[in-house]
């Protein structure tokens, strides 16, 4: 429960051709700069395949959904492939409702996501 913090800790990690953005904390409008920075860094390093790893307990709200979609829009312009893992069943349902899953597949685990992206 990293509730108090209005920002995220994001670690970049390479697994083969896939760059994992390991995102700690809630995904809200406050995540915009941390997520934008991490994404830019990964892209500058030439990442063509990205995996957004979100904590299962993360609180994701409408502001966070907007931030994620903005990242996805950028990946589409750059022809990067993106997948998502870690989210709960509830947010899988929501990502589906909103249409996020049209642009990024959601996987049960990092392993399955990396496999699918590779």
């Amino acid at each position: 429960m990293a509730m108090q913090q209005h920002t995220n800790e994001i670690h970049l990690e390479a697994q083969g051709a896939v760059t994992i953005l390991d995102i700690r904390g809630d995904i809200t409008a406050f995540s915009e700069s941390a997520l934008g920075d991490a994404y830019r860094k990964a892209s500058e390093q030439g990442a063509g395949k990205l995996l957004l790893k979100i904590e299962k307990e993360a609180y994701i709200n409408s502001g966070g959904i907007a931030v994620l979609i903005q990242i996805l829009a950028q990946t589409r312009r750059k022809d990067q492939r993106v997948a998502i893992t870690g989210i709960s069943e509830h947010f899988k349902k929501i990502f589906n409702m909103v249409g996020i899953t049209k642009f990024a597949d959601v996987f049960e685990s990092t392993e399955l996501a990396v496999q699918a992206l590779t």
């Binding site: 509730m3 108090q4 209005h6 609180y59 709200n61 409408s62 502001g63 959904i65 907007a66 979609i69 903005q70 996805l72 829009a73 589409r76 709960s88 069943e89 509830h90 929501i94 409702m97 909103v98 249409g99 996020i100 049209k102 642009f103």
Partner: protein, 145 residues
Amino acid sequence: MQPSASNTAVKIVLPNILGYERIAMACSAYFAQLNGLPPDRIEDLKTIVAEATTNAMEHGNGGRAEARVSIWFESTPEAIRVTVKDEGNGFQNTFPDPDIERIMDDRETPVGFGLFLIRNLADHFAYRQLPEGGHRIEMRIAMQP
């Protein structure tokens, strides 16, 4: 008549601070669990409570520090009902569902997901301007799917 008239209603009054919607979410989760709402519907409830509460803070109360958000939780055999009241003037427009394809193409800004979630997760919702001032949204999550 305030929604809190029932003998089992819970009321919570929050300051206008983003992040404090977490308190309302926790309240709603425990209230719903005590009243037998299934776990997956509790998740839906938490999400719509969070969205209605942050909307009340940001749009209804316009971020004013001295404004308050009041929330009532009620339980009936049919549904959990949540009412979120702010001190604002309510909706000035109607808002269509955001279109993710258009957003991805930069033809639309990524807003409107809060109401979208409420519209899609609540089994019923309605808002109205109050004669005594302020605005409230009432939302229900049905006990049976």
